[in-house]
Each structure stands twice: as structure tokens, then as C-alpha cells.
């Protein structure tokens, strides 16, 4: 019997048991679609995280203090380095109650100077940045994110209005464009940006910075810039030769690498779980094929009596299981892409479908059919014609 006829025979057998065949495929469908969804989500998450981090500025770095605080003098000295293009201190404050005409919410404060907007590449949709005077004079002015604007003001134009932040009246001078959310769900639009002097004295009552952001002139100059900053801080902090730094310098490249590592691990983990479900689907196929072989022992006997060879029977059952798994694979791929697209659509993540992952999933489903179908098929083919024919 040629391959075409074996295929025909197998398809007929599948058709005779539509209900069972489709239930058998469900395992593979779920397995393959979860592979597609998981791999897709992993890829999307990676790109989403990378986009988010590069908005931090691809040639930026941040300096954290750990023992000795970073102060005004540090900022002024670092600013003088010819390698430094932009530099801003940052004073944080989170969960700050913010009120406007009876409506209130909790927001996050960034105390910065105007360089912050350059480094972060955050742009105003309306209003203006800080003036030098406002920064020097601890001005009570604030630039708000879109979430704050929507929740407190709705359709009202917030520019020029006064809001209460920790019971201190602030005048809104600008509104940011929308930034989106981070991978962990942090809303970058729920922010209040004010002069660092104001954040430090009016909000936190501290005379140091939590962090300094520095931008180099280009990505290539980041290591050199970081070295210069490191040398300066070690000298100022009187750190002896050979002792470790008492501050930390993080470049966005490093952050990018960490994030990539995390999301890559996540993607592998997810794909691993999905592969397990594909494996379970394969066991389901094997189970059904074993039942099918013992149920159809007499049929096998008849086929052998009228001339089916060992390989004909083997091929028939193997094609049957491979057809089940491949059809399950195709349906699973379609379903997976659909579900993945839906999720991505709501998360506003980029839609990335790699043809390779689709091909691999299909080949994997195919291989599952062969792997889990071979044993039952061999069992059928190894039957002795006379025993199979006598089977009741």
C-alpha cells in the first residue's frame, strides 16, 4: 500500500470517531496555543521593558548615594565635568496626598531640575518648564502627569490652577504627555514634578538628593563619563585606594541587560510550562491510540488477513496519531495567535510573532504525534494475524 492510501485509511478512521478525535486533539491544541501565547508574551514583554528603559535615555546613568549623601556641591562640581551633558538631582516622595476642589489622590513626587526632562525625554503637552528663579527660590510650582490631570481636573484646563500637595498650595504650570505604564504596573503618568529645592525643603525636609541622573554626550562616552564621576566622588568622599565605593553608578545599558535577563528567563520559564502542557497532550494521544489499537484488534486482523503488511499497519496508526497532533497543532497555532493578539491589544504591548516559533510549535506537535503514536502503532503492527483475527 502506498503512502496516499495509508493516509486515506487513517483519515477515514479519524472521521469515524469525530468526537473522540477532536477531544484527543484538545490536549495538543491547548499545548501548542500556550506555547505560542507564552513565547509571544515573553517577546512582547522584553520589547516593552526595553522601550521603557530606553526612554530613561540610552546615554544616561544614575548615581545613588549610600553612605555619604549627595549634596548641592556634588551637583555643581559634576556639572563642570566636560563629559556631562545633562545633570539633574532627584528627590523622591511617594504616596503624597494631592487635592483639588474636594477630589484627591495619591501621587509620586519627583524633585528635579529642567535637565530631567531632557534625560528622560519627557515632553510637555501644555504649559512650560521651571524657571531658574523658581528653582532657586523654592517655588511652589508643579508639572503634572496625565493621570493626575484627568483625575483631578477632568476636562478643566489645569494650567494656572492651584492644587494642595501635602496641604501645601502649588500652582500647576505644565502637563506632561502620556508615558504609559511600566512592566510592573507602575503608572508613569501619576507623577508630580517640582523643583528639587522645593521637594527637598517643603516636602521632605532634607538637604541632600536621593539620586543624580547624568546624561553623557553619546552612548560611547558612557564608560568614560561614569569613570570620571566615580573618581570625583571617591576623592570627595575620601575613599582610600582599594576600598569599595560608597555610592553606586548605574547606566541604562546595565539596567537594560538586567531587564533583558529577567524577561529572557521569564520567557524560557513560560515556554517550559507550555511545553509541559504539550507533553501532557502527547500522553493523551498515546492513551487514546492505545485504546484504539486494542479496540480495533479485529479490524487489524482483517486487514492483515487480506494483505496488510506490518509496515502498512504501523503507518496507518502512525499517520492517524500524527494527523491528530498536526491538525491540533494548526488549530492551536491559530487559537494561540488569536488569544495572544487579544491580550497584547489590551496591554498595548507590541505584537511580535516570530515565524520560527510558529514553525517550531508545529514541528513539535508533529514530533509529539510520532513519538507518542509510535508505541501504539508498533503494538498494532506486531500483532499476529491469526491472534488478531480471533480477537473478540
Amino acid at each position: 500500500m502506498n503512502f496516499k492510501n495509508s493516509f486515506l485509511t487513517a483519515v477515514r478512521a479519524i472521521n469515524k470517531n469525530k468526537m473522540r478525535s477532536s477531544l484527543t486533539s484538545v490536549g495538543i491544541i491547548i499545548g501548542v496555543s500556550s506555547v505560542i501565547i507564552m513565547v509571544g508574551m515573553g517577546n512582547s514583554a522584553r520589547v516593552a521593558v526595553r522601550d521603557r528603559i530606553t526612554t530613561f535615555g540610552s546615554n544616561a546613568m544614575s548615581v545613588y548615594q549610600s553612605k555619604k549623601p549627595l549634596v548641592d556641591r556634588d551637583l555643581e562640581n559634576l556639572r563642570r565635568l566636560y563629559l556631562v551633558k545633562y545633570i539633574t538631582p532627584i528627590v523622591y516622595d511617594s504616596y503624597v496626598p494631592t487635592v483639588f476642589q474636594g477630589k484627591n489622590m495619591l501621587s509620586r513626587i519627583y524633585g528635579v531640575n529642567n535637565d530631567f526632562f531632557q534625560i528622560k525625554e519627557w515632553v510637555l503637552q501644555s504649559g512650560r518648564y521651571f524657571t531658574e528663579l523658581e528653582i532657586l527660590s523654592i517655588g511652589k510650582v508643579v508639572i503634572i502627569g496625565t493621570t493626575v490631570s484627568q483625575e483631578l481636573f477632568g476636562n478643566v484646563n489645569p494650567i494656572g490652577r492651584t492644587i494642595l500637595i501635602r496641604n501645601v498650595p502649588f500652582q500647576v504650570i505644565g502637563v506632561l504627555t502620556e508615558q504609559g505604564s511600566s512592566f510592573s504596573g507602575r503608572d508613569y503618568d501619576n507623577v508630580l514634578i517640582m523643583p528639587f529645592t522645593t521637594a527637598a525643603t517643603r516636602m521632605q525636609n532634607q538637604n541632600f538628593y536621593d539620586e543624580i541622573y547624568i546624561a553623557a554626550y553619546s552612548e560611547d562616552l558612557i564608560p568614560e563619563t561614569a569613570d570620571a564621576v566615580r573618581l570625583y566622588l571617591r576623592r570627595v568622599h575620601n575613599i582610600p585606594w582599594g576600598s569599595p565605593d560608597d555610592f553606586k553608578i548605574k547606566t541604562s545599558k546595565e539596567q537594560l541587560r538586567v531587564a533583558e535577563d529577567i524577561s529572557k528567563t521569564l520567557a524560557i520559564l513560560l515556554a517550559g510550562i507550555a511545553l509541559i502542557s504539550l507533553f501532557v497532550g502527547g500522553v493523551g494521544i498515546m492513551n487514546i491510540m492505545l485504546v484504539s489499537v486494542s479496540e480495533r484488534t479485529r479490524e487489524i486482523g482483517i486487514r492483515m488477513a487480506i494483505g496488510a503488511k506490518r509496515k502498512d499497519v504501523l503507518l496507518q496508526f502512525l499517520i492517524e496519531s500524527v494527523t491528530l497532533s498536526s491538525v491540533g497543532g494548526v488549530v492551536g497555532i491559530t487559537l494561540g495567535i488569536g488569544v495572544y493578539y487579544t491580550i497584547i491589544f489590551f496591554l498595548k504591548w507590541p505584537f511580535i510573532i516570530s515565524p520560527l516559533s510558529v514553525l517550531v510549535s508545529f514541528l513539535f506537535a508533529f514530533a509529539v504525534g510520532i513519538f507518542f503514536g509510535y508505541y501504539p502503532a508498533k503494538k498494532a503492527a506486531d500483532l499476529k494475524p491469526i491472534d488478531a483475527l480471533r480477537f473478540e
Binding site: M1, R298, I302, R303, I306, G307, A308, D312, P385
Partner: protein, 246 residues
């Protein structure tokens, strides 16, 4: 090439039930069958006739002895070669019909040709169709076995046995599940085939009336042939089976 279609010499079959117990189902059977003969094999159950038929049909292998079918020595064949002989040289008709359920009459008839290969689907259809109409089932090609009567199912089985133009037909109690009328009709088809195409017929039965259709009768007892001779035809030829017990 021998003129005999079947040459059997000292065929022995021993079933080993356990290390100590074994059953000698055939104890040295020799038989020659001419081309075109219509042979019936009789014997009580346990006499060895079924074992003999299975060996004749290459479904089982003898423990010792020689079996030559149509010039092919069966003793040195692989399981694939045996499958090929079953497919091309032998047409089987069983007591229980042994059709594939949930498969149309036409597809059942096509099956051996499908395994033989080398023909187009159209040729296959054509041949199966003509055989079905030959056994009187024209127009029922697409009925499934469970929608056919016992007699009709056996006709499908006969059509199936003929599709690869075999050298012999082995019919193992073909009328065992049928009533008198259908039995006669089935036997008439066999007789006609034997007369018109010269195909060798080997028929196992325990009913003397059915054996009457054949030309030569051998009788098995305790694994040996105890009787071998021509049938003494009764005066009337057709409608031999009159009444059947139970």
C-alpha cells in the same frame, strides 16, 4: 512448475500450552489439490480442520512439513512475503464475514486492492463496483455492513476475496451464520465461480449438505485426514439444502 496448486507433505502443527503440555493439532497431513478443484473439508470441532485452514491461508505457520502454494514454498517466507501471498493469491471468506464496520461495501471490497497498490482510485472503484454487481449487490455500494443482511454481507466478503484475482478461495464455514435460502445462494455463487473462472475453491464446513456442492471431500479427525474422495452427487444439483436443524 507443479500442476498442482497445493502440495502439502507431512504437515505438523504443535501448540505449546505450557512447558509440559502441548497439543498436536495436526499430526502429519499430506494433501494435493489440482487447479480448479472444488474441495470441501469436513470434521468435528477440534479435528484440526481450522488449524489446517489457517496454515493454508498463511495466517499461521506449521511446526514442520512442507506447504507449496502455486509453486511458492511457504516454509521460508518472511511475514511480509506471507502478507503479499495472502493479498494476491488467496481470497478469504469467513464465517463471521469479517468486514470492516462503519466502512461502505465498496470500500470493503476495495481494501485488498488498496494494499496491493499500483492502480488508480478510479480503477479501484470500477473493479469493486463490477464485482459487487456480479454478486448481486449493484446499487448497494454505499451501504455499511450493519445495514446489510447476513447474506448480503457474505456477498460483499466474496466480492472482496475476488478483487485481486486470487489463485484459490478459502471459505471457512461461509454459510455457518446464514439461513437456508442465503446458504444456497452463497453456494451457488461459489459453484458458478468455480465452473466459470476455474478458480480453486477450498471450503470448510460441518454440514454434509453444503459439502454436496463440492467435487471432492476430505474429512479430518484427530489431526489426520481419515477420508479423501469424490462427492457422490445426488440426483438434483441445485437447492440441495432442504432443511436445517436449529
Amino acid at each position: 512448475m507443479a500442476s498442482n496448486i497445493i502440495d502439502i507433505l507431512e504437515l505438523v502443527k504443535v501448540y505449546k500450552l505450557s512447558d509440559e503440555v502441548s497439543v498436536r493439532a495436526l499430526k502429519g497431513v499430506s494433501l494435493s489439490v489440482d487447479r480448479g478443484e472444488f474441495l470441501s473439508i469436513m470434521g468435528a470441532s477440534g479435528s484440526g480442520k481450522s488449524t489446517f485452514m489457517n496454515i493454508l491461508g498463511f495466517l499461521d505457520t506449521p511446526t514442520s512439513g512442507r506447504y507449496v502454494l502455486d509453486g511458492i514454498d511457504g516454509s521460508s517466507l518472511s511475514s511480509n512475503e506471507k502478507a503479499e501471498i495472502r493479498n494476491r493469491k488467496i481470497g478469504f471468506v469467513f464465517q463471521g464475514f469479517n468486514l470492516l464496520s462503519r466502512t461502505s461495501a465498496l470500500e470493503n471490497v476495495e481494501l485488498p486492492l488498496m494494499y496491493k497498490g499500483g492502480v488508480t482510485v478510479r480503477e479501484m472503484r470500477e473493479k469493486a463496483r463490477s464485482l459487487l454487481s456480479m454478486v448481486g449487490l449493484g446499487g448497494r455500494e454505499h451501504h455499511h455492513p450493519n445495514k446489510l443482511s447476513g447474506g448480503e454481507q457474505q456477498r460483499v466478503a466474496i466480492a472482496r476475496s475476488l478483487i485481486n484475482d486470487p489463485a484459490i478461495i478459502l471459505a471457512d464455514e461461509p454459510t455457518g451464520n446464514l439461513d437456508t435460502k442465503n446458504s444456497n445462494e452463497i453456494m451457488d455463487i461459489f459453484t458458478r465461480l468455480n465452473r466459470e473462472t476455474g478458480i480453486t475453491m477450498i471450503l470448510v464446513t460441518h454440514e454434509p449438505d453444503i459439502a454436496q456442492y463440492s467435487d471432492r471431500k476430505i474429512v479430518f479427525r484427530d489431526g489426520l485426514i481419515i477420508e479423501d474422495g469424490p462427492i457422490r452427487k445426488k440426483a438434483f444439483k441445485t437447492g440441495v439444502v432442504k432443511a436445517r436443524k436449529g
